[in-house]
Symmetry: C2
């Protein structure tokens, strides 16, 4: 199924704009999982199974798996999501960016090896660095635009001269993606919840394009402001990511085996806090 079709169905059928980010840090796992060979898979699987009815998508962050040589557990995790929760699309958060011949390899990694439904990519190297992902017509390609971190302003907030006039670099990225790169309708953009004014600007520039919004929770972004700025006319259009605030809700005090239940409670509260502003 096309990523956008699956995402739209998930927004409606699950009544949720919440994306649970899977950033597994073994140092923060509950005690009973510590030291297990399959701890990363088991931790993420428990979170997935406890929250799947509350989300519009899952977003595993590949760095957390790659740092520990746990690509096999990432494969198993995505396979589990597809088998057990087939309606929920999976975004591989990888932020890849390279010349075309190398991007072809990264596209194989994301879509054929890991079987992700969408990938995050970096626009700095331009159009031909994105084409190999766009060549998969059913997959989502979500480009960094205005990121949630402090350094996001170092480049993205500069004023640039473009063929369409003077604007911020992130606005140029948003317009270029919306007007030039989205011929197949499979593009999205990353815009941080820490910058609601820019979410509103990106929404103005891109119509109903799906926006992946990190930065609520641990990073401090505001849910009401994010929704006011970014929701589409029908109250969708956003994948609002929360990772650490949900994953580790129950293991702050090493509380143990009910970590997935604690994560579910925070996910439920977050979904409802979002829906209160749709």
């Amino acid at each position: 199924m096309h990523f956008m079709t699956a995402l739209t169905a998930a927004w409606q059928q699950r009544n949720s704009l919440l994306c649970v980010g899977l950033d597994p840090d073994p140092a923060r796992f509950p005690a009973h999982l510590q030291g297990r060979q399959d701890a990363i898979f088991e931790f993420c699987k428990a979170i997935v199974d406890a929250t799947a009815d509350l989300v519009c998508c899952f977003k595993p962050q590949i760095a957390y798996f790659a740092a520990r040589g746990a690509e096999d557990q990432l494969e198993a995790l995505i396979e589990h999501i597809h088998a057990k929760h087939p309606a929920i699309p999976v975004i591989l958060d990888a932020k890849r960016g390279d010349i075309g011949s190398t991007a072809e390899q990264y596209a194989i990694e994301a879509f054929e090896r890991f079987k992700a439904d969408a990938i995050t990519v970096n626009p700095y190297m331009g159009r031909d660095s994105i084409d190999p992902y766009l060549a998969y017509p059913d997959k989502g390609v979500i480009l960094l635009c205005r990121t949630s971190n402090p350094g996001g302003s170092d480049l993205q907030f500069l004023e640039v001269e473009t063929p369409r006039g003077r604007m911020k670099l992130y606005e140029h990225v948003a317009r270029t993606v919306a007007e030039d790169w989205n011929a197949s309708g499979n593009c999205g953009l990353v815009v941080g919840a820490t910058f609601p004014a820019e979410i509103a600007r990106v929404r103005d520039l891109t119509g109903d394009m799906p926006l992946l919004v990190p930065g609520i929770g641990a990073q401090g972004g505001d849910i009401a402001a994010t929704l006011a700025a970014g929701r589409t006319a029908n109250g969708n259009g956003l994948m609002i990511n929360s990772s650490r605030a949900i994953l580790y809700a129950g293991v702050k005090a090493n509380e143990g085996e009910d970590f997935a239940e604690a994560a579910r409670k925070v996910a439920l509260d977050t979904r409802d806090a979002i829906n209160a502003h749709r």
Copy 2:
């Protein structure tokens, strides 16, 4: 040893500015390696052993390994280079870029798991996305600046307003890295051989900073122009990368087991063509 110390020693002792890029594509391997489980490792190992006395560094491109689930072969390859050719630094070409907490994981992947001496990274997310790599004082951090691909101009060649005045985006990246991010002296920049005028500009802006220059060989960049634009006063300062033109020199017609010898011949010719312009 510090990456920059190792690189400088390799420039001098090997009398070479050549970087051999390791982009292993199994479809192009000679017949006797086809179908072997360890084909990627064996192919790259043969290339490494045949060219190590001709290079200043090796640059494995992680996408080619990740597309086939061959991270174990990448680990084994870098271990082999360190063991057999300890004077030659290894740059992991990964072009990572993410918020700080995720970048910490990517730094662990590159420097602790794969034991690379340097990594390529993407500047689009700004300073705090680079800090976790800079925190390893002995490692090299090589930032994308002016890339060799056609789409490199889409963002990098835009005119931007900066606190230092009006300039191209790639010039802003070069100045920011040279003046603000390089306090530990471990930064480098990627500037494509397809744009010699911009190599010259980056050289002007960055003093003796090492430049990783892809784009000769298969991409058509000119060696004489690259050297004229980018060499430092003592004839160093460049890591001139060639990947496909060297790797597959002997397997165009499936010539077989002498592929490493054919690769050596092209590497030797390329090193000498470069040295003719130092």
